[in-house]
Structures are given as structure tokens and as C-alpha cells.
């Protein structure tokens, strides 16, 4: 059987002032009708470029310099823009990562659908409307007659992605290119969308190229997979074969970096393919900390933080005529204790209030009611400035986005030294010495201190964030989705650093994540939150083995099935 699309030795280059950047280097790929072909790789692997190259939407100045793309028996890489456009939409559909931005906000769903249908299929308005309803029904939009007249902002993220899929299927394409279609969605929605894509593949005999960074998605959805690394095909074959028995070092490293939901590993087996993993010795840092003014108590099971009936209500702005403003209860009667030296996890989907809790603990938000006590002393409401400063120094935060959490106009050295100087812990000279030490510990050299944040990769920046958080020698570290913006192998390194830190320094951590496998690897106890309520609070192993709450059970069920069987990773750990 001849494949639906065949790519032979495709080369895509981006010429620039600094020389030619080769985005794709001799890529070959075959996709059959009725199958889902995964393209997996980390950022910079060129996986999205493949899709753009096929439909001729490479961004300037990128262009194809060698190789061929044969679609449905026709060579299309030499097609003119005009005939490519005819192909786009009609024979090849595309869906993008972010359903929130993929739709024109000013047109209704029906307008966008019928416009595309009329253009491609030359239908009359009435026929187009019928087809529009049929498509919406097919992607499981309830009540399509009414919802077709909605604007994109009236749909949830998952619903919008369904609309996007409907748009891509407008004129019965043979090939669907899905570029990270579920990355921006919650796990529960992700599972539904993947299910939908799988179903459509079979019912329409579609060929699907599924671009993703997520091994779980690959394992769950694809028939075949191609692993890309820096523009080159590393490995290709049946999904099951590759996941069970990866041949290439990069695939092995990638698979071993995926956090596992089934059991806790002491450390992530090393993932050194892209950036060096640091197995740093933090013990001399411990000596410093012992000497510091704040007493460090290790292994004492006293509560370091007690949160009691915490509430946070946001008011929507009331207007002149509707006197009563709406109240959104972001956090509702949440209570928990964090023991000294433990890693306390908070898990939940978007809108669960997990980040709001973190912001109240760090006193970025003032709680509507409730109490937070640190080492037995209340830190909410009006408290003496000395106590507040002490508390702030003892609790530090690491944010999700390493790009926006650092001032781009400050040197790394000054960024890390800022909290030290703020709390008067050292004079400027000593502070810089401390900064150098911290930089070494997180695996950067001291020269890095003189650079600016934009000169670092995402993973390196997150390390800098960690160094900044450690600068004041805190007792409680709050990590709000610290790795969800990072590639898996980088995530593994960052989590390793956090694990080492926690172990050596006896740091207490509150670890917030939407990712259950990551929670499993990091946390001792976990709180599950949904829509502002704390549903369940228990030991991590307990939660994964015998969840009490219905919602927890659903969440656990939705984790993309573990990509690897235990044996292969275990053997891999011992061999590396």
C-alpha cells in the first residue's frame, strides 16, 4: 500500500545573519491513511516545522532546500503558493496548540465554519449551514443549532479545540496535522480530545500527524512514532516497539525522564542528553545555613505552617446599575498543616484555586478570611513589620514561567543578590560571594552572574530562580508549577535539583502542580483541590493506590498510560 504522504530527505533551512540554521536535516517520514503518526521531540527539535513545510506555511525566511514531499502520489514541495493553498484546507487540515487563540474572536463559530465550507466546497449558504451543524455534531458539541451562533469566547478551552477540529475537517481532508493539540488543555479535556481524534481517524480514514512533546500522549494515541532531535530523525517505528525497546540514547534518555505515576523513584535517572545534569553537593551549603541566624531543625515532626479555614473571594467589579457585584469563591474553607521537612503537594486542574492558596501563603494576596500560622505564629492580618519580614525571608517562591519571573534588565548576579541585600543579610561584597556559591551549586559557572536572563535557556533560568529563592536561606519553598513550562528532560533535572536540596537542607516545600506523575515523584503528602475546595488530603502513595474521592479517581484514570513497561526503564537505569 502506498502511503498517504511520503517525505524523503527533507531539508529546511533558515538563513540569517549568523549563518544558516538547519531546522530540518534530511527528514524522512511515511504516514498511511487511517493511522496516527506521532512526531515527538523537545523544543527546538523541528517537529512543528515538518507540519509547516508540508502545507507551505514556513515562516520567512525559512525554505525547503532539498528533499521531496509526496502527497497522495503527487509531489507538492514544488507546488506554487496558489496550488498549495488549494491543497490546504481541502486535502490537508491543520490544528494548532492553543484553541484560545486559533479562532477569530470577532466572528461566530458558524461564520467561520460556513466561510471555509463555501470557499472550498462551493456550497450554497443553506447547504453550508447544514454541513456546519453536521460537523459540530461530529465533534460532540452539544446543541449545535444554538451553539453555532456563539462567539469563540463563549466556549471553554476544550470546546474551542473541538470547534478547531471541526474547522480543520470542513472539506473532508485526507491528512490532518495536529500540532500539540492538547498541550494547553487540562488532563480530563485532553483525554476527550485525543479520543475524538482517534475516532475521527478511523471514521474518516484520515492520516494524522500528531506533533507533541508528551510521551504519554504518544503512548496513548499513536500507531507509529518518529523521534526528532535537533532537526534529525533519531528513531522511527511502531509506537509499542519504540516505547518498549528504544534503541537510541536520546529516546532512552527522553523516556527515562518522563515522571512515573506507578511508583516513586529516588531520583530521575540521569537525563543528560541536552544539558548537563548536576549532582550537586549541597552539604557545604548546609554548613552556611547552620551558621545563619535562622535556626534549622531537621527531622522534627512539628508543623511549620498551619493553614486554617482559608477563604479567598474575588469580587467582579459592580456597575452603577447592577449594585450587587458577583463574588467568585476562588478558595473555600481550605485547611491543612505542613510538617517540617516534608514536601507537601497541591494538585488540581486550572481554576482549582491551587495557585491562589500559594499566593495567600506568600502574602501576595490578602485572604478574605482564615488564618495562616508559620511556626506557631500568625502571619495574616496586620502583624508587626519585623515578624512579616522574617516570615517573608523564610518563605520563598519559584514561579512557573522562568521567562517572565526575572527582570530582563538586571544581571543574574543582581537578581540573585537582591533578596540578600533587601533583608540586609550581607553587604554587597559578601552577597556576590554568596551568589557565586549558589550559581555553582545549581550547575552554572560564576561567569553566568554577569549575563542577563535572556542569554539562558528555560531550564537554566529556572535554576537561576531556584538560586534566587535559596539566597535568603528560606525554611519554606513554594514551587508553583515550577516545571510545566519546560521540556521533560529539563524537568527531570530541575526536579532532581529540588529533590537534592530538600534532602540535604531539610527544606520544607509546598509543591503545586497539575501533573500527577510529577506530584508522585516529588511529594510526601498531597492535597487534591477542585474549584476552591480541598477534596482529599493524604499520603502520596495512599492517594495513588487507594484514592478516596471520586474526583481523584477520575484524575488518576486520566493520566496518559505509562509509556514504558517497568523492565526497560529499570534496565536502563542500571546501564546508565
Amino acid at each position: 500500500m502506498s502511503s498517504l504522504i511520503r517525505i524523503n530527505n527533507l531539508q529546511v533551512e533558515y538563513p540569517s545573519r549568523h549563518g544558516v540554521f538547519i531546522a530540518l536535516n534530511q527528514i524522512s517520514l511515511n504516514v498511511d491513511a487511517g493511522t496516527i503518526h506521532g512526531l515527538v521531540g523537545e523544543s527546538g527539535a523541528g517537529k512543528s516545522t515538518v507540519g509547516s513545510a508540508i502545507v507551505g506555511l514556513l515562516e520567512n525566511p525559512g525554505h525547503i532546500t532539498a528533499g521531496e514531499i509526496i502527497f497522495d502520489g503527487q509531489r507538492i514541495d514544488e507546488h506554487s503558493e496558489k496550488s498549495l493553498r488549494a491543497l490546504r484546507g481541502r486535502s490537508i487540515g491543520m490544528i494548532f496548540q492553543d484553541p484560545l487563540t486559533s479562532l477569530n474572536p470577532l466572528l461566530t463559530v458558524a461564520e467561520q465554519l460556513t466561510e471555509t465550507i463555501i470557499y472550498h466546497l462551493k456550497f450554497s449558504r443553506k447547504e453550508a449551514w447544514e454541513r456546519c451543524l453536521q460537523l459540530l455534531r461530529e465533534v460532540d458539541i452539544p446543541d449545535p443549532e444554538q451553539r453555532a451562533h456563539y462567539y469563540p469566547h463563549q466556549f471553554s478551552g476544550g470546546m474551542r479545540q473541538r470547534v478547531v477540529i471541526a474547522l480543520a475537517l470542513c472539506s473532508e481532508p485526507k491528512l490532518l496535522i495536529a500540532d500539540e493539540p492538547t498541550t494547553a488543555l487540562d488532563v480530563s479535556v485532553q483525554a476527550q480530545i485525543l479520543q475524538l481524534i482517534k475516532r475521527l481517524t478511523k471514521s474518516h480514514n484520515l492520516g494524522v500527524i500528531l506533533v507533541t512533546h508528551d510521551m504519554g500522549v504518544i503512548a496513548q494515541t499513536t500507531d507509529k512514532v518518529t523521534v526528532l532531535y535537533q532537526g534529525q530523525v533519531v528513531e522511527t517505528g511502531d509506537t509499542q516497539t519504540i516505547l518498549k525497546d528504544p534503541q537510541h540514547g536520546y529516546t532512552q534518555s527522553l523516556l527515562s525522564a518522563v515522571p512515573r505515576a506507578d511508583r516513586k523513584l529516588k531520583r530521575f535517572p540521569h537525563a543528560s542528553w541536552i544539558e548537563d545534569d548536576v549532582q550537586s553537593n549541597f552539604s557545604d551549603l548546609l554548613d552556611d545555613w547552620k551558621a545563619s541566624s535562622v535556626k534549622i531543625v531537621k527531622g522534627e515532626s512539628q508543623n511549620i505552617l498551619s493553614v486554617n479555614k482559608l477563604n479567598m473571594h474575588f469580587k467582579t467589579a459592580g456597575s452603577l446599575f447592577s449594585g450587587a457585584s458577583k463574588i467568585i469563591k476562588a478558595v473555600n474553607d481550605v485547611s491543612f498543616d505542613v510538617k517540617r521537612g516534608e514536601v507537601f503537594g497541591i494538585v488540581g486542574e486550572s481554576g482549582s484555586g491551587k495557585s491562589t492558596v500559594a499566593r495567600m501563603i506568600t502574602r501576595l494576596y490578602e485572604p478574605t478570611s482564615g488564618n495562616i500560622a508559620f511556626e506557631g505564629e500568625s502571619v495574616t492580618g496586620t502583624i508587626p513589620k519585623v515578624r512579616l519580614n522574617h516570615y517573608r525571608r523564610c518563605t520563598q517562591m519559584i514561579f512557573q514561567d522562568p521567562y517572565s519571573s526575572m527582570n530582563p534588565r538586571m544581571r543574574v548576579r543582581d537578581i540573585i543578590a537582591e533578596p540578600i541585600l533587601l533583608y540586609g543579610l550581607a553587604n554587597k561584597k559578601e552577597a556576590f560571594l554568596r551568589v557565586n556559591k549558589l550559581l555553582e551549586h545549581i550547575g552554572l559557572d560564576t561567569a553566568a552572574g554577569l549575563k542577563f536572563p535572556h542569554e539562558f535557556s528555560g531550564g537554566q533560568r529556572q535554576r537561576i530562580s531556584i538560586a534566587r529563592a535559596l539566597a535568603t536561606e528560606p525554611r519554606l519553598l513554594i514551587c508553583d508549577e515550577p516545571t510545566s513550562a519546560l521540556d521533560v528532560s529539563i524537568q527531570a533535572q530541575i526536579l532532581n535539583i529540588l529533590k537534592d536540596l530538600q534532602e540535604v537542607l531539610g527544606l520544607t516545600m509546598i509543591f503545586i502542580s497539575h501533573d500527577l506523575p510529577v506530584i508522585r515523584q516529588m511529594c510526601d503528602r498531597v492535597a487534591v483541590m477542585k474549584q476552591g475546595h480541598l477534596l482529599e488530603l493524604t499520603e502520596t502513595a495512599e492517594l495513588f493506590n487507594s484514592p478516596k474521592h471520586e474526583y481523584t479517581r477520575t484524575l488518576l484514570k486520566l493520566i496518559p498510560s505509562a509509556p514504558v513497561t517497568c523492565d526497560s526503564v529499570d534496565s536502563h537505569i542500571t546501564t546508565t
Binding site: 502545507v55 506555511l57 493553498r85 488549494a86 491543497l87 490546504r88 484546507g89 481541502r90 487540515g93 491543520m94 490544528i95 494548532f96 492553543d98 487563540t101 486559533s102 479562532l103 477569530n104 474572536p105 470577532l106 466572528l107 461566530t108 466561510e115 471555509t116 470557499y119 472550498h120 462567539y151 469566547h153 463563549q154 478547531v164 474547522l167 480543520a168 470542513c170 456597575s319 452603577l320 446599575f321 447592577s322
Partner: protein, 321 residues
């Protein structure tokens, strides 16, 4: 939507009350209105009589209320300079200013938006670069200089258009228009061009910046990936989204076209409200000045209201609340 409109109207009324208060203060406290009205030979008794006639012996709050209710009834008092009713004087000059502003506003929109679109879609073309250089000049050169240069070129050197005044008038009730005759157009074209250049360059640059931004968004990429033709992608998806922020600027700019046509009207001796305002300043004609203030305030408030309505019309996300 209705609630939103009502809210905006109430806000507008509050703004107008504040403007009226400022106008009232100018009228009441900038010099003694009685002294300004009567001649030097008037006796104290006569002055006292006028004072009572005008209600100036009443408490200030009462006077303000009266002032507001007079304005609401279209009663703006009597000009010190011409001794005629201020409202009559304004009514006479209003058509000139509104027509000038309207023509220059239309010119700047009709020229500015296409230039913006073109230079956004073809950023590297020769013409786009000329547009940008030209718009830089338009922003940099002050209005009075543009006016003088246009007069020199088109009236003095080429002799195509008259340089002064307003002509070719046709009366439609109390409204006099110069838009119905060729002669009338020849009078209005130079001042309108002068007034529009600044707004036009601003609109060009806004449209260009917004459109370049919009053409980079995901939904444009997705529209292209669906194989839609350029025409639909660029206009139906691109332009409409770019216009949302541009509308605010256009609204505010049109307001300032009317409010600041003073300079252009002076340069071209255009018999509009701006010229009237300049003359009233020279004569310290306070009733006219405060009436003009209220007029400009009202104009801005109404334009803002229209902009809000247009916004809600274009952007469905604003319609929900």
C-alpha cells in the same frame, strides 16, 4: 447592552456637569460680569439693578443651578462683544466648523486606513516606505506651517484654490453649506487637507502597527492553514480585528479635530467656531468662551459614546456584560 449604554450616558452627564461648573466659574469669577456688561458711565444703582436681573445676589449654588438649567434650555447668555445672543452666534458658525471637521475626518480615514493596510501587508515595498517617511513628516510639521505651505503652493504658486474664507454657500434652513457647489469645495479643500494631515498619519501608523500585530496571530495562521484566500484572510479576519483599537483613536482624534481647528481656522480665516473663540479671547468675551468650552466638552462626550457603541458593535466580547 442597554444597561451599558445607560451607564455611559449617566457618566457623560456627570462629565458635562463638571465642564459646566468650570464654565460657570469662568463666567462668574473671571472679572465682574456686571462691570463687563455696562459701560463706564453706569451708576452704582444701574449696576445693582443688572446684578439683581442676572441673579448675581443669590447664593453661588443657586446661580450654578440656574446656569445649568439655562444651558439645558439652550440659553448661553449675551456676548459682551457683539451684544447678541451667544447661541445665535454659535449657530451661525457651527456649520462651518462641523463641515470642515467632517471633511477632514473623512479624508484622514479614507486615506489613512488604506495606506495603513497597504504598508502592513507589503512592509518591504517602495511605496510603504514612502508612506512611512511621509507620515513622519506629517506628524513632525506643526499644523500652521502645513497650512501656510499649502497656501503658498496651491494658492500663490498654482493659483488653484482660494486661500482665505468660505464661499459658494447654499442655505438649507439655518444651516449654510459649502458642500453643494464646486466653488464651495474649492474653499474647503485646503483647510480640510491641513487639518487632516496629522490625523491621517496617526491613523496610518496605528492601522499599520495593529495589522502587523494581528497578521502574526494564531487565528490568521489557522485561517491560512484552512486554505482561505488572501482577500478573506487579510480583510475579513485581519482588518476587522485591527480596527478595534484604531476606532478609539479615530474617535478621540475627530474630537480634537473640532476642538483644535482653532489654528487652521485662523490661518485660513475660516468663519467657524475656532475663529470665534480666538476673537472672544481677544475681547475677553467670557460668555462666548464658556459656551465654547461647553460645546467642546459635549462634543467629546458624544464622540466617546459613539466610540463605545461602535466597539460593542464590532467586538462581541464586550456585548455580553
Amino acid at each position: 447592552m442597554l444597561k451599558f449604554l445607560l451607564q455611559r450616558i449617566v457618566q457623560g452627564i456627570v462629565v458635562m456637569l463638571v465642564v459646566a461648573f468650570v464654565a460657570f466659574c469662568i463666567f462668574r469669577f473671571l472679572g465682574d460680569p456686571v462691570n463687563n456688561m455696562v459701560g463706564d458711565s453706569a451708576t452704582e444703582e444701574e449696576k445693582e439693578q443688572i446684578r439683581q436681573q442676572l441673579g448675581l445676589d443669590e447664593p453661588v449654588a443657586m446661580q450654578y443651578l440656574k446656569f445649568v438649567s439655562n444651558i439645558a434650555q439652550g440659553e448661553f447668555g449675551t456676548s459682551y462683544r457683539t451684544r447678541t445672543s451667544v447661541i445665535e452666534q454659535m449657530k451661525e458658525r457651527l456649520p462651518a466648523t462641523l463641515e470642515l471637521s467632517f471633511i477632514s475626518g473623512m479624508l484622514s480615514i479614507l486615506l489613512g486606513i488604506p495606506m495603513g493596510i497597504y504598508s502592513a501587508l507589503h512592509p518591504k515595498s517602495w511605496l510603504s516606505k514612502q508612506f512611512l517617511v511621509g507620515s513622519l513628516m506629517g506628524i513632525s510639521i506643526p499644523t500652521f506651517l502645513t497650512g501656510l505651505l499649502l497656501i503658498y503652493l496651491f494658492s500663490v504658486v498654482l493659483g488653484w484654490f482660494p486661500s482665505q474664507g468660505r464661499g459658494g454657500l447654499v442655505e438649507l434652513g439655518w444651516w449654510t453649506t459649502s458642500l453643494l457647489t464646486v466653488k464651495g469645495w474649492s474653499y474647503i479643500i485646503l483647510p480640510a487637507l491641513t487639518l487632516c494631515i496629522y490625523q491621517m498619519t496617526l491613523i496610518t501608523r496605528m492601522v499599520r502597527a495593529e495589522m502587523i500585530e494581528v497578521m502574526r496571530t494564531d487565528y490568521i495562521k489557522f485561517a491560512k492553514a484552512r486554505g482561505l484566500p488572501d482577500r478573506i484572510v487579510q480583510y475579513r479576519h485581519g482588518l476587522k480585528n485591527s480596527l478595534v483599537p484604531v476606532i478609539t483613536i479615530i474617535g478621540l482624534q475627530l474630537g480634537s479635530v473640532v476642538a483644535f481647528s482653532i489654528i487652521t481656522e485662523t490661518v485660513f480665516n475660516w468663519p467657524g467656531l475656532g475663529q470665534m473663540f480666538i476673537q472672544s479671547i481677544e475681547f475677553v468675551d467670557i460668555p462666548v468662551m464658556s459656551a465654547y468650552l461647553i460645546f467642546v466638552g459635549a462634543f467629546f462626550v458624544i464622540l466617546n459614546l459613539l466610540v463605545d457603541i461602535a466597539y460593542a458593535f464590532i467586538d462581541p466580547r464586550l456585548r455580553v456584560h
